[in-house]
């Protein structure tokens, strides 16, 4: 839905842009906040899941008879308890298959059975008594290997889409995508310099500190409740109801406080299992993943293999850009290669551009979104080549990027023509930043990179109830993952003209509010924020009508200003301004409760750009890298609560640092994950890092009344490349494979020194 003309952008803010304390803050610093695993219910059972030890195996027989006889076991579910209600919806069938294995276990960790028992010990004992007869099959975990003819085949039903003619033989290649415009071959003919490279990145995990957890309470009459840590409780409700063949209306889902998600909590894993166990046991069942289960059986991101070729004139103008991206997304269709291919060249103004993507399945857990899904790996490849070209041209990397940067009116590499965008401002600001002028020490190198993310709008529903004391109760349906309730209160307060602390925002359960899409795509401050603003404007319309009624003048003769109804002009009558509280106090006598609502499919999420600068120090003895300085410059459109915007910039950059330097899924020859724990899968710790400097730019998004753009995801797009460029500069050799762990750097140094 495009914004109508009455929603002209606001520029003079009273509370938006300030940094008040968050409303859920005291609960979170005192340990009172209730996260997924913190809930209890009377008569609660403990649910645990049995998982395949094999990367690929046919499940010939499941025998639960011994486990059923164990004292304290109240319910066991297997594939037999999950009949197919998906009605031809292939994507939903994949979710069903991922939640509980059917004819085959497709990765190590794939759920094959589950138990509900009186306590954790009995549940663990029961799992040991379940006998599964497996026929072990050949497996494949590497993306390039999985694409080869003769590779172990996961599904006999995959015939590559997007190629003509459609293949007659099944393969692991789900689909081919292609984006771009112009004539790439002709463009390369005009180039004076061409650089072509192949890059690899390993799979990483979102690494949220809170494991998946839920508490299901289902009755034999079909009524059910679910408490769950998720980025989208409406998604959980609809998905679980459809998988189990239940009525949506009978399942009420409440979102707990959520201990991180970063995209990883945008689908279901344990929730349908917990509900099925609860229904069968007719008791509440709590299921909490262990950290090992989180690594093996939730949704890490894709590992990738990417070819990039870019040609430039001597003057530094790009003539053609071409990329082929191969992403494995685990055992089912849906790697984020489409977004990778769309975003790869989105930062540049290109005449001839093409990006081809292949979505590939392997014997790994089904990937889930991870912050700007698909984009960081593409940016790693493209921005590494950009840095190398700049060096060959003898241009400063930042000037080379400025020369080719996308701007308003650029026909983007993925189709649309850009409106007002913030890439050039971030580059120009970066150029003036003291970071660029700071001297480098021995063994240090500097790198930079740009990044892009689409941002998303989506289905949103908000309700704003005015209380008779003049305060406001705001109900939103998007889980608050990083302070969004504070931002919502700021926007409601801004519109209503009441203080920030007079608005209380809650994340309403699925029975209290209309459908809301998941908190993803950096959409909440944009889409839920805009719905909040429009719900407040709806409430203001009703407030002015009530004031008009009290004064006995026409509703059009009343305006709203800074929390007060006022006669529109001298002709309207001479009445003293009436506050929101005064009108609300008389609501019962003037027509009943006053509430504002807004329901829509939000459109107009402005695209977002960032430029990052990184200094890295490489120890030539050990190959270890230390990030010594890091600066993020990003367009936020309008920063509603600048502290939490900075927090998004910093958090994304540091996740990128982990991805670039340490983090990787390491598979053994047996197809089993070798490092399913935080000791061996090492995310950045406090002592690894410097301060992360941030610069917020505000290039208003015309699609939002305050100009807001999503900020959550873009910050993870540039770091892989910015760090690779810094490390390559420090080491004197180009690194093309992530993570740039000490052994890889040492090997590159040795190969270079020959």
């Amino acid at each position: 839905m495009p914004l109508d003309s009455t929603l002209q952008s606001k520029r003079d803010f009273s509370v938006v842009g300030t940094r008040p304390l968050r409303p859920d803050g005291i609960d979170k610093v005192t340990g009172r906040a209730r996260f997924g695993a913190d809930a209890v219910a009377p008569g609660m059972l403990v649910g645990r899941i049995l998982r395949s030890p094999h990367a690929h195996a046919r499940i010939k027989k499941i025998d639960t008879s011994k486990a059923e006889k164990l004292a304290g076991v109240k319910a066991i579910v297997t594939r037999a308890d999950f009949p197919d209600h998906t009605d031809g919806d292939a994507a939903l069938y994949d979710v069903l298959y991922n939640v509980m294995a059917r004819e085959k276990a497709l990765y190590e960790g794939h759920a094959v059975a589950a138990v509900a028992a009186v306590d954790a010990r009995v549940a663990r004992e029961a799992l040991k008594l379940i006998k599964i007869d497996y026929e072990i099959l050949p497996h494949v975990t590497d993306v390039d290997e999985a694409m080869k003819p003769g590779a172990p085949l996961l599904h006999s039903s995959i015939f590559t889409d997007g190629v003509e003619p459609k293949p007659k033989k099944p393969s692991n290649i789900v689909r081919r995508y292609e984006f771009g415009h112009g004539d790439v071959a002709a463009g390369f003919k005009k180039a004076d310099i061409i650089v072509e490279r192949t890059f690899k990145t390993e799979a990483t995990h979102q690494g949220y500190i809170e494991p998946h957890a839920c508490l299901a309470n289902a009755s034999p009459d079909g009524q059910a409740e679910l408490w769950v840590c998720t980025q989208g409780h409406f998604m959980v409700r609809d998905t679980c109801a459809r998988l189990l063949g239940w009525d949506i209306s009978k399942l009420r889902v409440t979102a707990s406080e959520i201990g991180g998600g970063f995209g990883g909590k945008t689908t279901v894993f344990i929730e349908p299992v917990a509900l099925a166990l609860s229904r069968k046991a007719n008791r509440p069942v709590k299921v909490v993943m262990t950290r090992e289960e989180v690594f093996k059986a939730s949704g890490p991101t894709a590992s990738t293999s990417v070819d990039v070729k870019i040609g430039v004139t001597k003057e530094g103008r790009i003539t053609a850009a071409d990329a082929t991206l191969r992403y494995q997304g685990g055992a089912f269709a849906g790697s984020p290669v489409e977004f990778g291919a769309m975003s790869a060249f989105a930062c540049y103004d290109l005449e001839n551009v093409r990006a081809i993507g292949y979505d590939v399945v392997t014997n790994r857990p089904k990937q889930a979104a991870y912050r700007a899904p698909g984009a960081p790996m593409a940016a790693f490849a493209v921005e590494s080549v950009m840095e190398e070209l700049a060096k060959k041209l003898g241009l400063a990397p930042i000037d080379f990027r400025i020369k080719n940067a996308a701007r308003e009116g650029t026909h983007s590499s993925y189709g649309p023509t850009y409106g007002p965008i913030g890439l050039l401002p971030t580059l120009e600001k970066a150029k003036q930043h003291p970071h660029f002028k700071a001297p480098l020490g021995p063994n240090q190198g500097r790198g930079m990179a740009c990044g892009f993310w689409f941002n998303f709008g989506g289905q949103t529903c908000v309700s704003l109830n005015l209380n008779n004391d003049g305060t406001a109760a705001l109900s939103v349906g998007t889980p608050d993952i990083g302070g969004s309730r504070a931002s919502m209160c700021l926007m409601a307060a801004e519109e209503l003209g009441i203080p920030y602390d007079k608005v209380r925002a809650i994340v309403a359960d699925t029975s209290s509010l209309g459908y809301n899409d998941v908190t993803d795509g950096s959409r909440t401050t944009f889409a839920t924020g805009m719905a909040t603003i429009l719900a407040a404007r709806d409430a203001i319309k009703k407030l002015t009508a009530r004031a008009a009624q009290i004064w006995g003048i026409p509703a059009e003769a009343v305006t709203w200003e800074k929390g007060y109804a006022k006669p529109a002009g001298a002709n309207a009558g001479n009445f003293p301004p009436m506050s929101l509280a005064e009108i609300a106090a008389q609501a019962g006598a003037t027509g009943g409760p006053i509430a504002g609502h807004h329901e829509y499919s939000a459109d107009g999420a402005g695209v977002s750009f960032a430029t990052h600068i990184c200094d890295a120090e490489v120890d030539p003895e050990t190959g270890a890298t230390k990030i010594v300085r890091y600066t993020v410059l990003q367009d936020a459109g309008k920063a509603v609560h600048p502290s939490y915007v900075e927090g998004q910039f910093q958090g994304g950059a540091v996740q990128g640092i982990g991805w670039a330097l340490n983090e990787e899924y390491i598979y053994g020859k047996d197809g089993r994950l070798q490092n399913a724990g935080f000791l061996d899968y090492r995310i950045p710790v406090c002592s690894d890092l410097p301060m992360i400097d941030t610069v917020i730019l505000e290039i208003p998004n015309p699609g939002h009344p305050y100009g807001v753009r999503g900020v959550g995801e873009t910050s993870i797009v540039p770091p892989l490349a910015a760090i690779a460029n810094a490390v390559s500069a420090a080491a004197g050799v180009r690194l093309t494979s992530l993570p740039m762990s000490p052994p890889k750097i040492l090997a590159a140094l040795e190969a270079h020194q020959g």
Binding site: L21, T30, I209, G260, Q655, P684
Partner: protein, 158 residues
């Protein structure tokens, strides 16, 4: 399995409980005593979300058995504020927006307090190493380090 009787002091209060021999202190706190401020992020001592103090020493409660706490004094996040008054660290975490999702926050606050109890005037580097056992995936630690340094300064003035 027969239970083990344990007598301990938690946040200054005498607490008695019966636990199984293989039950961690974290499980006892969360499942038997309703003290869910300590979080289970890994159960292998790698994330620090379950941090408590055991006789004044910073400890991962997932690495200690409930039975081992007999006779010990335990400090948890629930004991950090005094009535309505937040500890300066808690206040500074809010002022500096040093939390996003908040799941690591109780453990980090317990670890930060343990650090300042031993070293009231830490450098940035000392804060970073003092908190190196506590994983935060949201913030990149920047605002956490600033909040701890600011709280330390305020506590020295008081």
């Amino acid at each position: 399995m027969s239970g083990i009787h344990v007598r301990t002091k938690i946040n200054g209060d005498v607490v008695e409980y019966v636990c199984d021999g293989d039950e961690t202190l974290l499980d006892v706190l969360r499942n038997r005593l309703g003290l869910t401020g300590a979080k289970e992020g890994c159960s292998t001592g790698d994330c620090g979300a379950c941090s408590v103090t055991l006789d004044g020493r910073l400890t991962c409660s997932c690495l200690v058995l409930g039975a081992e706490a007999d006779g010990a004094e335990i400090g948890t996040i629930e004991g950090m504020a005094k009535g309505e008054e937040l500890h300066p660290l808690q206040r500074k975490f809010l002022e500096h927006a040093a939390l996003q999702c908040g799941i690591c926050t109780p453990g980090i606050l317990v670890a930060a307090k343990a650090l300042l109890d031993h070293n009231p005037k830490p450098t940035e580097t000392e804060v970073r190493f003092g908190l190196a056992g506590n994983l935060c995936r949201c913030t990149g630690y920047d605002k956490i380090v600033r909040a701890v340094l600011d709280a330390a300064q305020e506590m020295r003035r008081a």
